[in-house]
């Protein structure tokens, strides 16, 4: 009798002690997440401090990357990063939405599942494998096309060579290859577009599936065609969510490193030609961090990393907000 009473009194105390320990362990381990975030800012900040002190915000707005003279500015890299990512988005978004619509609205279940699964696998292909494929399979095609363009328009080619020599370009020359290397801006955009497809596609598919059935049925009842239902009832409803997916994909593209570094030609210069080699912030880090000397060069390379860090934080927060607003539960 006494024993059972004691046990009853003791049990809550025992359990609360265990609960406290467990909670501390769980919270402690979870704090690794916050710690990683804070440490990232601190470590990147400390390492890039010499460049921040020397160049300030001018680091982001000057176009020079001259290690021997210790002059560094990330403008051409920022532009390279933004242009490759945005163009890749423009190419991939319509395709991604098309595939999402196909899976959610058109395909019978036996087809929708495998297609959805293939799109997921596309997201799992590693960056280096995309890069390898681009080098061995796409680059030769690009070269053949460039050679054809160059040799079939000798007049324009000569004219463009003169223009480029004078440091200028013109609209037709913007599309006339200077060299027949295949690698460069356009190949980077192409491979990026393929790489980010699955991110937009899977978010778009999920939000399209969340469009209430009533919405569709009402339109069908009015005698609308399938496309009218999609364009008038589904897409407007899913717009914010799809936009969130697009911005997530943008974040992916901005930070994509090795596939881009393998094909972009790694030249920190402003783009004068759609085929020309250029560079992105991430590709520059991959190329130069290993050998950048202590001091301004290394600090500048880490400065690129810090910039990428903040950009990706902002992009991510915007995307999450949009997706959460669209779907109260989040995705």
């Amino acid at each position: 009798m006494n024993e059972t009473v004691l046990r009853r009194i003791n049990r809550p105390r025992l359990s609360s002690k265990g609960d406290g320990v467990f909670r501390r362990v769980v919270v402690g381990l979870s704090m690794v997440i916050a710690l990683t975030f804070v440490l990232s800012i601190v470590l990147l900040g400390v390492q890039s401090w010499p460049a921040i002190r020397q160049f300030g915000l001018g680091f982001l707005s000057t176009n020079v990357w001259n290690p021997p003279k210790n002059e560094f500015g990330a403008l051409s890299l920022m532009i390279g990063t933004l242009l490759t990512s945005l163009l890749a988005l423009i190419i991939s978004v319509p395709l991604a939405i098309a595939s999402a619509l196909f899976v959610a609205e058109y395909a019978p279940k036996w087809l929708a599942n495998p297609v959805g699964y293939l799109v997921e696998l596309l997201a799992a292909v590693p960056s280096v494998v995309y890069g390898l494929w681009a080098l061995f399979a796409l680059k030769p095609l690009f070269q053949q096309f460039q050679t054809w363009l160059f040799l079939s328009n000798p007049g324009l080619a000569a004219q463009c060579t003169d223009l480029f020599n004078a440091g200028k370009t013109s609209l037709p020359c913007f599309f006339m290859p200077q060299v027949l290397v295949g690698q460069g801006f356009l190949l980077a955009v192409t491979i990026l577009a393929i790489m980010i497809l699955p991110f937009t596609a899977s978010v778009a598919r999920d939000v399209i599936r969340l469009v209430p059935a009533d919405q569709r049925e009402a339109m069908y009842a009015l005698g609308a065609t399938k496309w009218e239902v999609i364009s008038l009832a589904i897409l407007p409803y899913a717009r914010a969510g799809i936009l969130g997916g697009v911005i997530l994909a943008l974040g992916r593209a901005l930070g994509e490193t090795l596939a881009v570094a393998m094909v972009i030609g790694n030249t920190p210069e402003l783009l004068k030609n759609i085929w020309a080699p250029t560079a992105t912030m991430a590709s520059m880090i991959a190329n130069e961090f290993g050998d950048a000397r202590e001091g301004l060069h290394r600090a500048s390379v880490v400065g690129l990393g810090l910039t990428l860090f903040f950009v990706s934080v902002v992009v991510n927060l915007v995307a999450r907000t949009l997706i959460v607003r669209m779907t109260p539960k989040g995705l």
Partner: protein, 346 residues
């Protein structure tokens, strides 16, 4: 959770067990130049057979080799251009350079019909400045009468990483072209006027191999092993020299070699010399006692370096690098002899 936790814990335990088991094998870690990598990878494979010591050498470029030895993340760095006093200033101890071979940097190209071409220093500078853009340019024709040259654009391939090969090449261009010297200069990485960047000698050779109309500067062995055409280069005496062991070794005969062996061999005064030649160096600390280094590790490194400058030299010529001349080998030996561990010889 228990399952997952125990899985996690057992993984940790397994890795700890592996640490203690594997820590006994002798391994020397080095990183740097890609220029001598075909030679080093052969040497280290043979050295493993001869001595049992593993050498992990990563061909990440001379710039990285210099940076990593300063940061002491490797046992030795490797670079084709010797580090300047300025570059060695951030190093926490005295750095030594030991040359291992003499190599030649060649202009490799890919053209239909594989013509044999001759280049002058000025022409190479003008191509890399972006002033000569087509293979049919009169400047190329003038040096190569009788060769049919296509109207293809010249794709300039160069390094995207910090490179000793770049340092040697730009050092040469700075000596022969004042425009190059003022506009670009000589360094491990420079601001290139034109071109497509490849990582390592290997990456540049890869671009040349796959691009009609491309030209790139690579170490001789990369051109030979990948069957790339490469041009002769006019030396200071005006002779067109095809890179080979003899002309590369001759470059060292036209130059006074200082006691620390840090010297440029480009544009040699010797009339038989190939003009874009260079020693390739291994760089390490004179005092081996730093960080958690043991005397055993220091001994392993010393034995490796000694072998490379003596028995290992047998692998130079079959791979198209020139051997160290006798006077340089003697200097290398005495430099290695000054290595110490906390001040004590070993």
């Amino acid at each position: 959770m228990k399952k997952i936790l125990s899985l996690g814990l057992s993984l940790v335990a397994a890795t700890v067990a592996a640490t203690t088991a594997a820590a006994s094998a002798a391994t020397v870690t080095g990183a740097g130049a890609s220029f001598p990598y075909p030679l080093y990878s052969k040497m280290f494979a043979e050295y493993k057979k001869a001595s049992g010591t593993d050498v992990n050498y990563q061909s990440v470029g001379s710039g990285a080799g210099q940076q990593q030895i300063i940061a002491r993340t490797v046992d030795f760095g490797a670079s084709d251009n010797p580090m300047s006093d300025e570059a060695m200033k951030p190093a926490p101890g005295k750095l030594l350079h030991v040359p291992m071979a003499i190599g030649a940097v060649v202009p490799a190209y890919k053209l239909p019909g594989d013509p044999k071409l001759v280049f002058s220093g000025k022409l190479l500078a003008d191509i890399y400045l972006g002033k000569v853009k087509l293979w049919s340019d009169p400047a190329i024709k003038a040096l190569n009468p009788g060769v049919t040259l296509p109207g293809l654009p010249i794709t300039v391939a160069r390094r995207s990483d910090g490179s000793g090969t770049t340092a040697v090449f730009t050092d040469y261009l700075s000596k022969v072209s004042s425009e190059w010297k003022t506009k670009v200069g000589a360094a491990n990485s420079v601001q290139w006027p034109v071109g497509v960047g490849g990582k390592g000698n290997d990456g540049v050779a890869g671009i040349v191999k796959s691009t009609p109309g491309a030209i790139g500067y690579v170490e001789l062995v990369y051109a030979k092993q990948n069957a790339l055409s490469f041009g002769a280069v006019q030396n200071r005496a005006g002779k067109a020299i095809v890179a080979d062991n003899g002309p590369a070794a001759a470059a060292a005969l036209g130059v006074v070699i200082p006691a620390d062996t840090r010297v440029s061999l480009t544009n040699s005064a010797n009339a038989d010399a190939y003009p874009i030649a260079s020693f390739t160096y291994v760089i390490f600390y004179q005092d081996q006692k730093y960080g958690s280094r043991t005397q055993e590790q220091a001994k392993d490194l010393k034995a490796l370096l000694t072998w490379m400058t003596t028995s290992g030299q047998a692998y130079n010529e079959p791979l198209d690098y020139a051997k160290l001349p006798a006077n340089v080998a003697a200097k290398a030996k005495s430099i290695i002899g000054t290595m110490n561990y906390g001040g004590a010889k070993f």
